[in-house]
Amino acid sequence: MKTRLGLSLFAAVLIFFLCAGYLARALSSESPGCVKCHTDEQILKSLYTPPKLGPSEGEG
């Protein structure tokens, strides 16, 4: 009985650490905000605002 309880506890702890490790890895591989948007065409397209054009001051 004591052994089974120990095993279950060990399995639970193991699963917890595996999940935590996986989650941490998944989060660390997630690109930072700038890379995420500036490398994804769909996201960038949805965020893009065309510039407002003023008068041009010359022709170089």
Partner: protein, 347 residues
């Protein structure tokens, strides 16, 4: 266009420039979850401060601060001769820093992202790669009003012979010239020691035909190469008003070079008119000190033109030479000093 802001993901782990993250150059907030929060504190043009690149490229970034591309000193020098001392002060405060200076080239304008012209640009040159040169996306945007379309033939006529042979801007305009030498703040491109000269590749006396050799010898020191070898009309800008821009028309004008008053060369209209800076409260007290025509280097060179074929075009027809009748109306009094009439030659 959003595509101009697309970064090529494949370069991120390979190029050392990205090792310290976007924020090391661009600032901003990498943890921001919306566009607004992520862009808070964003530095859109990090190389506006040349020291950003100078951390690693000090040998280039430091002298670049003295280059005309960075200082835009040429724009001030071009008009300052028309100002009184007081007007120059007003110009520096109200016009130069707020208008002319905003047009300066940063390292990134040539090596990362096309420069902004009139509020628009074509964006990152190659997905944020750091490129050595890509003239169609860099030089051509700032110099695309006059010389570049002349060079490629897009302004009418034939493309420049050098363009047809496959040459690009930097084949003549060496980086030593436009990166600056780090010692002198130049006022004009004419002061650039390494500026290109036709004779660098075409030494005098090496023309293939006798006719060309005679023509070169006869006109040596009296005529610029452009006067005979400019292939046709080039762009002239007129009637510039601060904040409103200028209008352009094709033209071809021959007259005395305002810099030495003795060499005949191609002249280009300077768009500055008497009330160009009126909105800034500058009347240009010395407007008549400088002419409205300046020596030009049309980038539409041809080996054979009507001038190289026949002496009569200049010496009998006097074609395209500036005369008193052709001078701009209400132009500068200094224009009269550029009028030149070639002598007829004995047959």
């Amino acid at each position: 266009m959003y595509k101009g802001f697309m970064v090529d993901k494949s370069i991120l782990g390979k190029d050392i420039h990205f090792d310290e993250g976007c924020g090391s150059c661009h600032g901003g907030n990498e943890k921001g979850v919306t566009k607004e929060t992520a862009h808070r504190g964003l530095v859109t043009r990090p190389s506006n401060q040349a020291d950003t690149c100078g951390k690693c490229h000090e040998d280039i970034a430091k002298p670049f601060k003295t280059s005309l591309h960075f200082t835009t000193e040429g724009q001030r020098h071009g008009v300052s001769g028309r100002f009184s001392h007081k007007e120059l002060k007003t110009f520096n405060e109200k016009v130069f820093e707020k208008s002319c200076r905003t047009c300066h080239a940063s390292c990134g304008d040539c090596h990362v992202k096309a420069p902004v012209i009139g509020g628009i640009n074509t964006g990152l040159i190659r997905g944020h790669r750091f490129v050595r040169k890509d003239e169609g996306k860099t030089c051509a945007l700032c110099h695309g009003g006059r010389v570049y379309p002349e060079f490629t033939g897009e302004y009418g006529g034939n493309a420049d012979i050098h363009y047809q042979k496959g040459m690009i801007c930097v084949d003549c305009h060496k980086k030593e010239g436009f990166h600056g030498d780090g010692t002198t703040i130049l006022r004009t491109r004419k002061e650039v020691k390494e500026r290109p000269r036709c004779t660098h590749c075409h030494p005098p006396g090496e023309a293939k035909t006798e006719k060309a050799q005679v023509a070169h010898k006869t006109h040596s020191g009296k005529l610029s190469c452009y006067a005979c070898h400019a292939g046709g009309s080039y762009r002239n800008c007129y009637d510039c008003h601060l904040g409103k821009g200028a209008t352009a028309k094709p033209g071809f004008v021959l007259g005395l070079n305002p810099r030495d008053k003795k060499t005949v060369t191609t002249l280009r209209i300077i768009p500055t008119v008497r009330d160009t800076f009126a909105s800034a409260g500058i009347a240009m007290e010395g407007y008549d000190r400088l002419p409205n025509y300046w020596d030009a280097a049309p980038h539409n060179i041809k080996k054979r033109t009507e001038r190289t074929r026949s002496c009569d075009v200049c010496h009998e027809e006097k074609k395209d030479f500036l005369t008193k009748e052709l001078l701009l109306k209400n132009g500068s009094k200094a224009n009269e000093g550029l009028v030149y009439t070639p002598k007829s030659i004995a047959k």
